[in-house]
């Protein structure tokens, strides 16, 4: 089995070179049968392992080859026809573009029928987790300052204490992070304070990140005082709980970005049945009522205690607007102007 795994690993590595995507993590779980479900995903193995374990308990006959890559590489790989049976991504705009352009295969089951309308599109793309963007602050570094509850208050806080926040504000580099770009474009449409916030951050020598994990780590380590638009996964919350107030997660009350983690079955998939079974399992956990032990938040419960204002980014053609190269160029130029003032 190990040899087979190695061989498959080699094949996958070869495949990755052929299709030019950067493999961040890779793992092969052998199954009792000959079938192998090839998953390409943006979720780290640490996050996704419990789901794979649950699936293997249900379907021990299917082996799993799990490949982690960036959302942009995932998008390009599927477009290029890389041999994967399931694509799981946090970049819902890119996933949507794949589905729209005919790179996804339609799937229908009792579970997909249970999904609310906003969580699927055309039996091609299915959301299984809704995650919000939050502000993560280091309690020690903002000690004595008012805790901001809105972007307006965050702007005021940053503007009034430039010395304290200089070089200590982190956010996504939207040029690199698809998710950061998605959040940013959504915010420009939803609130007019976004550009002012970016300008204020731009004056404070902002630290730009590709991924939320590093941002949270830097906040925890005290290198950052504020990290804006961090994906508020359970990992971050757990870290906040364990840190004893050093890491605090703030939810902006004026407006929240909620991203849907989505799955598609690529057009060139071969293990369609197994891919469908895994989607069903993901939807089952996504539609659960209680938080449970799963690493990713469910679809519906993200509204939290208040429940109001739960409006995830819609799966629809509007997602393609900011993917258009012209629009992207214009937006990034504007963003760079605001963010890099020095």
């Amino acid at each position: 089995m190990r040899i087979l795994g190695l061989a498959l690993g080699l094949i996958l590595s070869w495949a990755s070179t052929a299709f030019a995507y950067e493999v961040e993590e890779e793992r092969f779980y052998p199954g009792t049968g000959p079938g192998v479900l090839r998953i390409i995903s943006t979720a780290d193995l640490a996050v996704f392992a419990p789901y794979l374990a649950a699936f293997r308990a249900k379907r021990p006959d299917i082996g799993i080859a799990y490949t982690v890559t960036s959302s942009a590489d995932l998008y390009q790989a599927i477009r290029d026809g890389a041999p994967f049976d399931l694509a799981l991504s946090s970049a819902m705009d890119l996933q949507f573009q794949l589905a729209n352009d005919g790179f996804a295969r339609s799937y229908r089951s009792a579970m997909t029928a249970d999904l609310p309308d906003w969580a699927r599109w055309r039996d091609l793309i299915f959301a299984f987790s809704a995650e919000r963007a939050v502000v993560v602050v280091n309690g020690e570094r903002i000690a004595g300052l008012p805790v901001p509850a809105t972007r307006q208050e965050l702007i005021a806080l940053l503007r009034d204490h430039p010395a304290r926040f200089d070089g200590a504000v982190g956010t996504y580099d939207v040029r690199e992070s698809g998710l950061g770009y998605l959040f940013a474009t959504k915010e420009t449409r939803s609130t007019d304070v976004y550009w002012r916030l970016v300008e204020v951050m731009g004056r404070l020598d902002p630290q730009l990140y590709c991924c939320s994990g590093q941002m949270i780590d830097d906040v925890a380590a005290g290198r950052l005082a504020v990290a804006y638009n961090v994906l508020g996964s359970y990992a971050a919350e757990r870290l906040a709980r364990d840190s004893g107030g050093r890491v605090q997660i703030l939810r902006m009350e004026d407006f929240e970005n909620i991203m849907l983690r989505t799955a598609i079955i690529p057009r060139h998939a071969q293990e369609v049945e197994a891919a469908g079974a895994l989607i069903d399992l993901l939807l089952e956990t996504g539609l659960r009522d209680t938080a449970g032990d799963w690493p990713l938040p469910p679809l519906g419960q993200t509204g939290g205690a208040d429940g109001a204002g739960f409006s995830p980014i819609r799966l629809g053609p509007a997602l393609m607007v900011y993917l258009d190269p012209l629009n992207r160029r214009t937006f990034l130029a504007e963003w760079e102007n605001a963010m890099e003032q020095r």
Binding site: A99, N100, D101, G102, W121, R122, R189, R314, G316, P317, A318, M320, V321, D324, P325, L326, N327, T330
Partner: protein, 456 residues
């Protein structure tokens, strides 16, 4: 009569067929219209999207610049979950979007939206293209904005409306069939009413039908009336004929009888006398039969237009008994009268005829030296004339059958008779609204015939 289909059913089926056809037609029309409306809606949305994009075109530093407006794409999600494709070309070169989208068929003129259906990425798409000329520097550059969408949403809307229309059509059809059945029954009601009126009539009621009937039934009515008129005439004619015949037979018979009696008185030869007596008896029988035939014809004739004179049954019975006294006396039969006054309204001739026939029967079938009792009594608003004899009775056969024409009892033996007597009595009594009862006499011997008539 062999029933060959029912008009009602045929009418219902015909109307139901028409309703089905109309339902199908309306379903087809609604489906077509729904599809057209959905398609037009999609066209409008596509046009709006393309125009919105075209309006954001601008020139910057001699170059055509474009920023796709968010609303241009978000509005495309309005119809359904359709895949969206777009392309913007400036002077034939791709500015952004899907390069391989089919080019517009028609030559575009500025501001005018051109629609077109094509196949792209394995699906049927609807495209809207609009041309806008942008001044880039000094150069006018024609920019074509094409927005396309798959037709799943349209199909879905059309299918939903079609299903709705189908349900409505089925409902319409069901209602139409129910109404058709009601309509058929309503239109056939006059026919059924006429049939009921005809079958309600008595057996000898041949008066013309005088009913208000729909124009369509007038020919049937007049044909029926003509038939009944002819039938009545024919019956009357045959009755006239019988009466005439009976009359004509009776008169010569009376002459023959008189001559035979004279001959009987004159001859002394016993064999000759015996033969003459036989002749006389036979003549008597013939005469009686002819009389009964005449009576029967009279009854049939007079019952049509019955007189309603006040008559005392007791007086009538006494009078009738008196006319038959002589016949009875010939065979030593006594007529005992027990009379109570009973006033009825009727035809004296007919009642006399009925009573005479019954009494005649009783005398005829009575053995010599017996008594025939004639009672007149009233009870429960009915007058009752009961004639009881001591003859052989009515036999074992069905009693009611004896009133049938030319039907004679099973035990009449050698007694001659026409079988008309009880028929005449029954017809007369029935014409007066009464009835005839036949039963065995109380002591078990003899017959008991009652004429029951309503009192005046």
């Amino acid at each position: 009569m062999i029933p060959r289909g029912s008009i009602g059913r045929r009418l219902t089926l015909l109307l139901a067929g028409v309703a089905a056809l109309l339902s199908l037609l309306s379903w087809g029309m609604v489906t077509g219209l729904a599809r057209q409306a959905a398609e037009r809606t999609q066209d409008n949305v596509l046009a709006a999207s393309a125009i919105t994009i075209a309006e954001t075109l601008r020139s910057e530093q001699g170059e055509v610049r474009l920023e796709l407006p968010y609303s241009a794409f978000s509005m495309l999600g309005a119809i359904g979950e359709d895949r969206v494709f777009y392309r913007v070309t400036a002077a034939g070169a791709l500015l952004t979007g899907y390069a391989d989208l089919p080019p517009p068929d028609a030559v575009l003129s500025p501001g005018q939206v051109v629609f077109q259906t094509a196949t792209y990425s394995d699906e049927t798409i609807r495209m809207a293209a609009v041309l806008r000329v942008v001044l880039a520097g000094a150069q006018p550059v024609p920019v074509i904005v094409t927005v396309a969408q798959t037709r799943q949403g349209v199909d879905q809307i059309a299918a939903e409306l079609s299903r709705l229309a189908a349900a409505l059509s089925v409902a319409f059809f069901v209602v139409a069939v129910a109404l058709s059945a009601i309509a058929a029954r309503t239109s056939l009601r006059p026919l059924n009413e006429i049939a009921a009126a005809v079958s309600r009539r008595g057996p000898s009621d041949l008066r013309p039908l005088r009913r208000a009937a729909p124009a369509e039934l007038a020919p049937l009515m007049s044909a029926l009336n003509r038939l009944m008129d002819r039938l009545g005439q024919s019956i009357r004619r045959s009755e006239d004929f019988i009466a005439e015949a009976a009359h004509r037979v009776r008169t010569p018979l009376a002459t023959v009888r008189t001559q035979a009696e004279i001959a009987l008185h004159r001859t002394l030869d016993e064999t000759e006398r015996q033969r003459l007596r036989g002749i006389i008896r036979a003549v008597d029988e013939s005469s009686r039969s002819a009389g009964q035939l005449l009576d029967h014809a009279t009854v049939a004739f007079r019952a049509d237009d019955l007189a309603r004179d006040p008559i005392d049954l007791a007086a009538l019975a006494r009078q009738t008994a008196a006319t038959l006294e002589a016949t009875a006396a010939l065979r030593d039969i006594r007529l005992s009268l027990e009379l109570a006054p009973a006033q009825v309204a009727g035809d004296a001739v007919l009642l006399d005829s009925a009573l005479r026939n019954v009494l005649d029967n009783a005398i005829k079938y009575s053995p010599e030296d017996t008594t025939v009792r004639i009672q007149v009594a009233t009870s429960d608003g009915m007058g009752r004339v009961t004639i009881t004899d001591e003859g052989p009775g009515l036999g074992d056969g069905p009693v009611e059958a004896l009133t049938e024409r030319f039907r004679r009892g099973a035990n009449t033996g050698g007694i001659v008779g026409s079988g008309l007597g009880l028929t005449i009595a029954r017809d007369v009594v029935a014409a007066h609204g009464g009835h005839l009862t036949l039963q065995q006499a109380e002591n078990g011997r003899g017959a008991c015939v009652s004429l029951v008539l309503p009192l005046a």
